[in-house]
């Protein structure tokens, strides 16, 4: 109360604006001076205060997003680990040969619909593009099937003409096998392929997601490869029930394998997305906290400088009176 009275007294004696001290101006670049009608400049902390408020809000939001992602991750991680048992027998039987050389390749890239999840979508897209270059050549044809909004947006920029289909809104309801198998069925019906390559981020732990390629061959290519020996060459030594001819069995197996591998890939990618979002939001809240610390220091400096200026004005005014 006394301070405000003194302040008013001090102001009455100032008729000319006090030039700002260049050292204070250099020290705190957040100084804002507003010229009042009397031509008096006062240092305002309003700008800094606004920034601090918004940074604090952002910190709260990112912390909340991290918590949400962490809780969702726990549930999806369990399902992902259980779904790994679906494709492991297939790989044991049919092998996974990414180096197979075929004419028609279809690259199925799995990305997320929502953003703020770090760099996983960009890495998937980068790998798809390099795989495209790797598998293209004379008489060869490569097409994309894109799951997820983020992948579509990035691919549309330069590879529009090689996109066969895009699929979005996969994660609207919790992912179940039926949904993915219907999706797989749609893909199989609409694209011609000799080899399908699924690109997704495999979930190893909360901080590590490894981009992975799974290759699924069409039945004819499996026949061809089994004739040339190797893992697939042992296929004839198995007695398989459920089909009369080998080709028919291979057809069923190939379709089912695609469905299972796609299911696992979608779940793994969802896990990786949540994990990446957790770490992105965590580093974001940490940065916001550091920013807040720096802003608080600036705010205090500005506040103290303005108080000092007031005091100087008052004292010099008082001494001008007495002296």
């Amino acid at each position: 109360m006394a301070m405000t009275a003194l302040r008013r007294e001090g102001r009455r004696f100032l008729l000319s604006p006090i030039p700002p001290n260049p050292s204070t101006a250099a020290r705190s670049t957040m100084l804002s001076e507003d010229l009042s009608l009397l031509g008096i400049r006062s240092i305002s902390t309003q700008v800094v205060r606004n920034r601090m408020k918004s940074v604090k809000n952002i910190q709260k939001i990112t912390k909340a997003m991290k918590m949400v992602a962490a809780s969702k991750l726990r549930a999806v991680q369990l399902r992902t680990e259980n779904s790994r048992g679906l494709w492991q027998p297939f790989t044991a039987l049919l092998g996974d040969t990414p180096s197979v050389d075929v004419k028609k390749n279809v690259i199925v890239t799995i990305t997320s619909d929502k953003g703020l999840c770090g760099g996983i979508n960009s890495t998937s897209v980068k790998i798809s593009k390099s795989l495209y270059k790797l598998t293209s050549g004379p008489e060869k044809e490569t097409k994309y099937v894109l799951l997820g909004e983020k992948g579509k947006v990035q691919m549309v920029r330069d590879s529009k003409n090689s996109i066969e289909m895009t699929i979005t809104e996969v994660q609207k309801n919790p992912v179940n096998y039926t949904q993915v198998s219907v999706l797989a069925d749609d893909i199989l019906k609409n694209v011609e392929y000799d080899a399908l390559r699924i690109i997704f981020n495999k979930f190893h732990s909360v901080v590590s997601f490894i981009p992975t390629i799974s290759t699924i061959l069409s039945p004819e290519v499996v026949e061809r490869e089994s004739e040339s020996g190797g893992k697939l060459g042992d296929l004839d030594s198995y007695e398989i029930e459920g089909g009369e001819t080998k080709a028919e069995v291979l057809q069923n197996l190939a379709e089912f394998q695609f469905s299972c591998v796609l299911y696992n890939a979608v779940l793994e990618n969802a896990c990786s997305e949540l994990g990446a979002r957790m770490s992105a939001m965590d580093s974001s809240s940490r940065n916001a906290g550091e920013m807040l610390d720096r802003l608080t220091l600036t705010y205090n400096r500005t506040r103290q400088a303005s108080i000092t200026t007031e005091l100087i004005e008052i004292i010099s005014g008082a001494s001008a009176l007495t002296g």
Binding site: Q179, T245, E248
Partner: protein, 118 residues
Amino acid sequence: MPSQSHHRGESFRERWGRRISFGGGELRSSVVMASAAAGSSAAVPFWRAAGMTYITYSNICASLVRSCLKEPYKTEAATREKVHFAISKWADGKPEKPTCTLREAAKKTSSFQLKVTD
């Protein structure tokens, strides 16, 4: 020779001497079975002859099993049947209007119509 909507299994089919053409691709299929010229006379399972893939077949079986469940488990299992995604095909670098499928797998498979002419 391959028809407009070339199903990817056609070349495999031709090898076994049967001509199967698909119109419309999605739910309705008309199956024309030419008599086997050469190749195997092995009977294809009925669902393959009708144009279903193994995936569709196993989904139908799964939904049949789910509908056999008793009450508290039945509603739990129904949540595992929900299908929703928006798919859009691209032609010449342009997307077509996405078809939104919000349906249960059972509904899709039960509306599967097929005509088999011999």
